[in-house]
């Protein structure tokens, strides 16, 4: 299958949604599940093939458009398509308990969101990257306003305004790059980026940093993120946390290493990541809305990832990518379980954790919390220990101390929530999870435990991804179209 189908199939399914709607809601829901399943199975098939893979459209790169899949993008492809499968199954339950919601509107933008995120990680052309960036943007604005109430629309409008500002910066950066180098191919830009006048190259880096940093929820520009999480439905929160934020993070570091910025700007990104981590975790402490709480927790974890991914050492980067995968699974688990809880208790206050009675959900939440905290035997532990090991190997002991100290703050609110769940006092309402959710949450929890007990299953792919990220020579060869 050509890599182009990763973009083409979701778009076709998205445009066919009105016809599927006429055929009935079964077809509509089934088509989305079928689509995400095809993409996921195809991504698994790519793990056995030789990487990188390229698909060119009509003209050979560097003049033509091409999609390149290397080890780094393969890991993200697996995460995105897996999340799509889980969320499309979860929506079966969601539309069953909320029969009056507009299903077609959700599926159009859900499929396009998957198409855009996958396009962003495969594209090897900075202008196409921008187009996919906007596709993901428009879909996430609309999905965050899916609840057409005050909160939903407000979050949609806020996200749209912030997103437009970010996209203006990125367009400006792309134009400056084109004016200086005269190409939009990522390979050629990477080769000639050092030839740009240093003053203009600083301006370009700053523009790209502001643009992608805003979307990837970095510290000074992430004030909007909790609002967006609060206004949108839980499954969309899960998508934002495990797909959209990760796609922007992918592009951020892809360009960071491709343009050879790691030696100059390593400390800068690391400090910004550390500040993101610190500020988010302390702000999370006194939140009373669960969605805002988990949004701040997501920001904090992204801060750790920014710290670890900018180090330019393969051990730390590999550990960070392990942590990223584990965080995606855990946050998806937490947000999906939270959706069930919010549906039954009709509240988003933090006190709902003390008001429900379900042994299954308690265990699921506990697994998610402990995995994000980094307690063995869950996958978050392996990710964090690998990051700390990488920092130790590069003699960066202050970073280790910092991560461990701030993790204590994180432990405070997660243990508070766990204590509320285990508290036997007060009136408790029984929560019915539903058959589909039971299986979905079991799968996610099982993955967390399996990756925690047998990390070598995943480390193989994260090592591959880390090497592809730090030494993009293979990627450059394909992006330049050498020997095709």
């Amino acid at each position: 299958m050509s890599l182009g189908y990763y973009f083409l199939l979701p778009v076709i399914f998205s445009f066919l949604t009105p016809y599927f709607k006429k055929l009935g809601s079964f077809t509509l829901r089934g088509s989305s599940i079928l689509l995400s399943f095809i993409l996921f199975v195809q991504s698994i098939a790519y793990t056995t093939m030789k990487l990188p893979q390229i698909s060119q459209f009509s003209i050979k790169p560097p003049l033509g458009i091409a999609f390149v899949l290397d080890g780094y993008s393969l890991l993200f492809l697996l995460i995105f398509t897996f999340s799509a499968v889980i969320v499309s199954f979860y929506m079966l339950w969601y539309f069953k308990v909320n029969p009056k919601r507009d299903e077609a509107r959700f599926y159009v933008f859900f499929n396009m969101l998957i198409a855009g995120s996958i396009g962003m990680i495969l594209s090897c052309d900075i202008f196409n990257l921008y187009i996919f960036f906007e596709i993901v943007g428009i879909c996430s604005y609309t999905l965050s306003a899916y609840n057409k109430d005050k909160l939903g629309l407000e979050s949609g409008i806020k996200y749209l305004i912030i997103g437009s500002i970010a996209s203006i910066f990125i367009v400006f950066a792309i134009m400056l790059i084109y004016l200086q180098i005269g190409t939009v191919n990522l390979g050629l830009i990477a080769q000639r980026f050092h030839e740009i006048d240093p003053k203009i190259s600083v301006l370009i880096v700053l523009m790209l940093f502001i643009g992608f940093g805003t979307k990837a929820e970095l510290f000074p520009m992430n004030f909007w993120a909790p609002d967006i999480y609060q206004g949108s439905i839980s499954s969309v929160n899960g998508l934002f946390s495990s797909v959209v934020a990760k796609a922007y993070l992918f592009v951020f570091f892809h360009l960071f290493y491709l343009f050879g910025l790691s030696s100059k700007y390593m400390l800068f990104v690391m400090v910004i990541g550390a500040i993101t981590f610190l500020v988010s975790e302390f702000t999370a402490l006194n939140q009373t809305n669960v969605k805002r709480l988990f949004a701040y927790s997501t920001l904090g974890q992204l801060g750790i990832l920014f710290m670890a991914l900018s180090t330019n050492s393969s051990e730390t980067v590999s550990g960070a990518l392990f942590h990223l995968t584990s965080h995606s699974i855990s946050k998806l688990l937490i947000f999906l379980a939270l959706g069930i809880l919010i549906h039954h208790l009709k509240s988003t206050k933090i006190s709902i954790f003390g008001d429900f009675k379900s042994r299954f959900l308690t265990i699921i939440f506990a697994i998610g919390f402990l995995s994000i905290l980094g307690i063995p035997p869950f996958s978050g532990f392996v990710g964090k220990i690998l990051i700390l090991k990488g920092f130790a190997l590069s003699h960066n002991y202050s970073a280790i101390a910092f991560i461990l100290l701030v993790s204590i703050v994180e432990a405070v609110y997660f243990f508070r929530l766990t204590a509320m769940m285990l508290d036997k006092k007060g009136t408790k309402r029984v929560v019915h999870v539903g058959f589909i959710n039971y299986i979905l949450l079991c799968v996610l929890a099982a993955l967390i435990v399996i990756f925690g007990l047998f990390p070598s299953l995943l480390i193989h792919y994260t090592d591959l991804a880390a090497n592809a990220l730090i030494n993009p020579t293979d990627y450059l060869k394909f992006a330049l179209g050498v020997g095709l």
Binding site: A145, K148, L151, V184, N286, Q287, N289
Partner: protein, 125 residues
Amino acid sequence: MLDFFNSTQSIHAIIIVGSMALFFIGFYGIATQKNLVKVLVSFDIMESALFLFFIGLHYKVGLVAPIVDDKTKTFTGMVDPVPQAMILTTIVIGLAILALGLSFGIEYYKLTGRNDISKMNELRD
């Protein structure tokens, strides 16, 4: 006098100054306006400034538009077509975002009777 204005450098200077002025007009609008429609219009002004800047800097005196017909034998003496294609795409994307923003604004106005973005503060802890 007119020859002076017909040189590439002075045209570029005018375009840089003009588009920067336009950009800051849009920026001022975003920073000060409270009406959602006015904020969206300010975005469009900012974007237009970027488009003018990019297209303008790729124009050189004496070059023609890159349109190929039967009489075209050589491809010299034409401006670079890539920026124009890129800007066309960006204009379409900008239009889509503007339309989406306005539709959000209309829905929000129907629900609350307000379109003041400084009063959109219900998303809080």
